[in-house]
Symmetry: C2
Subunit: 269 residues, 2 copies
């Protein structure tokens, strides 16, 4: 239980102060923060609340979008935004910044991937100066076109290995990678580079490419099997329950967090 972390997206209708207080009340010692929620109260106030309630930050979501392509179709300056996110992560007391690298720019998949590798190379020293590690998170291949040209742990490792192990690593998100026939081997390859482990399940049938997720235990994913893999690869840090689910978001945060705790106990821990 001391490894459970609430990824804030799971209780999307909670503000940051509500989520931090909710975690403290439920005995959940970790939280994975999102930048938009932090921005609502300001970084300093967020950091003060975390300290007050004794809740630690497992990671900050998120930097990235280095290709400039987001699901909203906007062209963003991913490098500038990620520098801000690195500074924010440091102020919030976490050494892990999750990166979602951006979709396919100009119908050029190889070129988009190269832009990601280049951006990581440019940002790694800056992140290191701030005591923050860059966590490359592969997303599900169905999100390749508009969210992430990084689709597998192997591919994330190809980039990470160009940098020191204490600077660039990989975030393993079950929903994104559970189907990968090479996942066990890829996680083993990421030994010492795993910066986060995000758990959730997949809805069956999969009716939405973003929201088709559920609490652990409601789908086909072998959570304990994947947890054993990341542990064998040296990861013993917090485990974030991160669920994008429209039904869950309609419910009261405290109820959702109680279900998070139950599903984590029954299917992950």
């Amino acid at each position: 239980m001391d490894r459970l972390s609430l990824n804030q997206i799971t209780t999307k209708n909670w503000t940051l102060p509500e989520a931090v207080a909710g975690c403290a009340e439920a005995g959940v010692g970790w939280i994975g923060l999102w930048r938009d929620k932090v921005a609502e109260v300001g970084v300093d106030r967020a950091a003060a609340l975390l300290k007050e309630y004794g809740v630690k930050v497992s990671s900050l979501c998120r930097g990235g979008f280095f290709t400039g392509v987001t699901p909203e179709g906007a062209t963003v300056d991913g490098i500038a935004q990620t520098k801000e996110a690195i500074e924010e992560a440091a102020k919030l007391g976490t050494d892990v910044l999750v990166l979602v690298v951006g979709g396919v720019a100009g119908n050029d998949l190889p070129g988009s991937r190269q832009r990601v590798a280049d951006a990581v190379g440019e940002l790694a020293p800056f992140a290191r100066e701030h005591g923050v590690k860059l966590g490359l998170e592969p997303l599900h291949p169905m999100q390749c076109v508009d969210r992430s040209v990084l689709s597998t742990v192997d591919q994330a490792m190809d980039i990470a290995e160009e940098h020191p192990a204490d600077s660039v690593g990989v975030v393993v998100d079950e929903f994104a990678v559970w189907w990968d026939p090479r996942i066990e081997a890829a996680i083993a390859r990421a030994n010492g580079r795993i910066l986060g482990f995000h758990v959730c399940d997949q809805l069956v049938p999969l009716t939405d490419t973003l929201l088709g997720r559920a609490l652990p235990g409601e789908g086909p994913i072998d959570h304990r099997g994947l947890r054993a893999c990341v542990e064998a690869a040296g990861y013993t840090g917090p485990i974030e329950v991160e669920v994008f689910n429209a039904e869950l978001w309609k419910r009261a945060g405290a109820e959702v967090l109680a279900d998070v705790v139950t599903s984590y106990r029954e299917h992950v821990a």
Copy 2:
């Protein structure tokens, strides 16, 4: 143009006689057939029509579902159905049967994959006796849970390589594999084993896991790049345009086929 094949799903509202006549009229020399459409007229009548119009069959869709798991939730006898499909393919004059292997049974992904490998082993000699090759078609990872535990060309090759090259091979479907960081290497590995090449594009945004497809040129996929890969791996056979798209299915078959020809010329050939 002599390699273009109309996969029958693209003109879903056409019967088999309409599709065969439509291909002949449009100068399209190949068709990829679906078993449900064949069943509507019967195999013998279908074979006679194909001969009458001089249209060749690039492949028959489909055998498989060896795990028993289909999107409809039904438990099917995949081996028995695939034996029937093998006999049908032989009667229709094609040596390629496309296999969609089935989804995850009993939340056991490794076990489901083993069932697929076992079924292919059981069926390969039977197929060979009938002069039919088994074409393992990886589907998109978002279809892993309910359609296909086979998600990559590499994984298909792991199974195919256990059998003679003239017996078991791989069908490369762009929609399923375009995002794969290893796709070029995997196709190169499949040298001499490629039994089909299916082209279409991906809709952006991807609003449906099955129907989120479009004619070549309407999305991010590099058709000529992938065609070069399969050709470098020795495949010079028919190229099926296979598009699951609800809007396309509302239109008249002849119009759709005209657009198929245009998009093939402009983006694939």
